[in-house]
Subunit: 455 residues, 2 copies
């Protein structure tokens, strides 16, 4: 079943590239209202393409840019594929080597690339899956299973319509498993299935001392300085081993399984160069844990912002009334965001002296997403990826959050399999974005293999 | 000698008020170029008034507003009197009950006041001394001693010409003692001679971790967060008793003499209401030391500003590259600013982890001014003030710095006696500024007594 599909993908590559170039020529920037008609055009293009392939496909209006949903095929396991057709703005235009919406295939020292806005994020990635389906239909006259395509047009604008649309179209979108193609390879030769996404708890702490800014000469030594109080609180949030000191913070945090640890060790991650790229040399997480484990599988507490008193040019001898910190926690495993929020706030309150007040602001609370990798589909997908690429695939984590995966879980009850073929030099969100033809080609072949295995 | 002078002051009060009103009608705002001619006019008015009294007086141009210097009299002790004829801007004009430069005498529940911009700061205060001299000359046909008047026109603009002018006119300005009238009474009934001014050392600390801002999801747990480092440094600057932990910080800090402590205890300072006025209730200085001692006679370390990462509305999951604090030390006694700077920087450097860099910026370094109160002139002035006012005068401190007193010491080698008659409800720098007629009247009488004692 699979081999003729792979052969078809190989033979059809030039036409597949032409189709991607056609989609890339549509300047579907979602953040700029002037490009709203272009977003409509991109959605129309996708609806037409899916319809031509035999999907029942429709454009769904929202208060912003439209959603595209198409369904086809029959089978035991229903798969939902997610991608987004909107792209980032192109500023600064002067830094582009060619017009961002006149894409072309270019030869480079690292091989052929498709150059243009959206090539990697996310039109090229999205089309790897569409092309895999097209090849399957061309060879077998039907899909290997039941597939729903779901394309969003507001991902680069914070997805304002995503939750309402999911809530309103649960029956249309609910499937057994979601496939999301908006991530990178682990490295050029090593594919990955992202199965752990850290959650995020954001808090803002405002300490008030005196009720107005004071003259530090007149009051210094008499009045409580809230910046000192805040500094004491922040410095108490970690112990000398880099562990977070909020009570019961590590409840629900599990150690890596030996299998997963072995997979990660096998990735040959170079933490020295990872840190060197940002000007550092020493892992700053919990003692005794490597960088990969720290960013994929361990929770953190970070200061994201500080402000107090006068911070402009020169100097003002102000004794500030207020001091503010934005603090976030990355969460893993079964950590419960609202319990950590309460424990954090109780700890802060206990450190605020009687003469100061503390105020908190919430800035989001989402738990970690941990996919049920005991579902055999995950191991099958990993095997399928390993068959295509030079090195074996791994189940990896992601330090950041990918909100759509969380929404699939909380609104539709689905786990997500995040598989993508980007490279870290793709310049997404930057001038001269590109997608390797190799990523595009092997991406299509990867999805063909995964469809054969899963559907 | 003195009594007829006091009688003359009493009799001449209505005319003295008219002269002050004339000076107040000149809108000599130094911060606004459009009022430069008004500053010239105020300087000319003073030169003319001094000349009429028999001074050899001259207007000295600078690159900004002119200085006025006048000399008269003969005597063993040469006194230099300093005041400033420039005034603060008047915005917001809508909050004034009458035009700020159409001053008048008003009856209030607390007695008669002179209402108008500059009434208290500093034209009214300046004229208390001029009028005392005028009365002396009227009665005795000469001054009781040698007096140089020195009036500045840029005090409200940071005195940019003051140091160069002093450097260039040392012989003209050097005297045995400076008298400065730009401060307040301790309270309505208690005059003060300020004899201790705290010094100031300003430092800016910038900690750099990663060489650019990072995504806190991608790097949180791997990369060193400079805001955490900065918080640890700030919280280490004080021990649990509120003492500054910079090594050798207290070198040169002396305990109050029993005499001075007795004077201060006698002031009946209400630290509860002092703190309550700014929304506080607990003295925040060193354990076991009262508020007055803490702000007048003890050194401090305060955070004046903090900045790191994203501090605007909402939230950004940034792991900051840099964290900045502006930190100042108020200095007393014989503390040596540059030694404290070095000790502070060494302490900070010792707390910066190997993966971070620290950068320092200087923001001034001035030692404390401690007047040689063993010069009998100080005790004589204190006695003279005590004779005039309901309660005995005290030698007091000032938490802030009064730069001109420092320059008199460092450039001209003179101690300063800071004596003023303002009240804390005079609304200086604010709409509806006023000066009590009682302050003006008893201020003139106070100077007459001090001149009798000193000159």
């Amino acid at each position: 079943m699979l081999d003729p599909v792979l052969a078809r993908i190989d033979a059809d590559l030039p036409q597949a590239i032409q189709r991607l170039l056609a989609l890339l020529r549509i300047p579907s920037i979602s953040t700029d209202r002037i490009h709203a008609p272009d977003c409509e055009a991109a959605a129309d293009w996708l609806v037409q393409d899916l319809t031509d392939m035999g999907f029942r496909a429709e454009k769904h209006p929202t208060t912003g840019r439209p959603m595209v949903v198409g369904t086809a095929g029959e089978g035991r396991r229903h798969l939902l594929f997610y991608g987004h057709y909107d792209v980032q703005p192109v500023d600064p235009l002067a830094l582009w080597d060619r017009p961002p919406f006149l894409p072309e295939v270019q030869d480079t020292a690292e091989g052929k690339v498709i150059r243009g806005r959206g090539a990697a994020d996310d039109k090229g990635q999205l089309m790897t899956f569409v092309e895999a389906c097209r090849a399957w239909i061309a060879v077998h006259h039907k899909l290997p299973g039941r597939i729903t395509m779901f394309f969003e047009g507001e991902e680069e604008s914070g997805s304002p319509s995503l939750i309402p649309f999911m809530e309103a179209h649960k029956d249309l979108l609910r499937a057994d498993l979601a496939l999301i193609c908006d991530t990178d390879l682990f490295d050029r030769d090593t594919p990955a299935v992202t199965t752990m996404l850290r959650g995020l708890l954001g808090e803002e702490v405002i300490i008030t001392g005196p009720r107005m800014d004071l003259h530090s000469g007149m009051y210094g030594g008499a009045a409580m300085n809230p910046a000192r109080v805040l500094a004491r609180i922040i410095s108490a949030l970690h112990d000398e081993n880099g562990r977070v000191t909020v009570p019961d913070f590590y409840d629900g945090v599990e150690e890596l399984s030996p299998e997963l640890r072995a997979q990660w060790d096998g990735l040959g991650f170079d933490q020295t160069s990872f840190l060197r790229d940002v000007g550092l040399s020493i892992p700053a997480g919990e003692s005794g844990r490597g960088v990969l484990e720290s960013i994929w599988a361990r929770p953190t507490c970070e200061v994201n912002g500080l402000s107090s008193g006068y911070a402009g040019e020169g100097f003002k001898t102000v004794l500030p009334s207020k001091a503010m910190a934005k603090i976030s926690f990355r969460l893993v495993g079964q950590q419960v965001p609202h319990r950590i929020r309460e424990a954090f706030r109780a700890m802060v309150r206990s450190m605020v002296p009687p003469d100061c007040q503390v105020e908190f602001k919430e800035h989001g609370a989402s738990p970690a997403s941990v996919m049920a990798t005991n579902d055999p589909a995950f191991e099958m997908a990993r095997q399928a990826l390993s068959d295509e690429w030079p090195r074996a695939a791994a189940f990896t984590g992601s330090g950041g959050s990918i909100p759509v995966a969380g929404y699939f879980k909380t609104i539709l009850g689905m786990d997500s399999m995040l598989i993508g073929f980007g490279n870290d030099d793709d310049l997404i969100h930057s001038p001269n974005e590109k997608y390797d033809v190799r990523s595009f080609h092997k991406g299509m072949r990867s999805w063909a293999r995964i469809l054969a295995a899963l559907a």
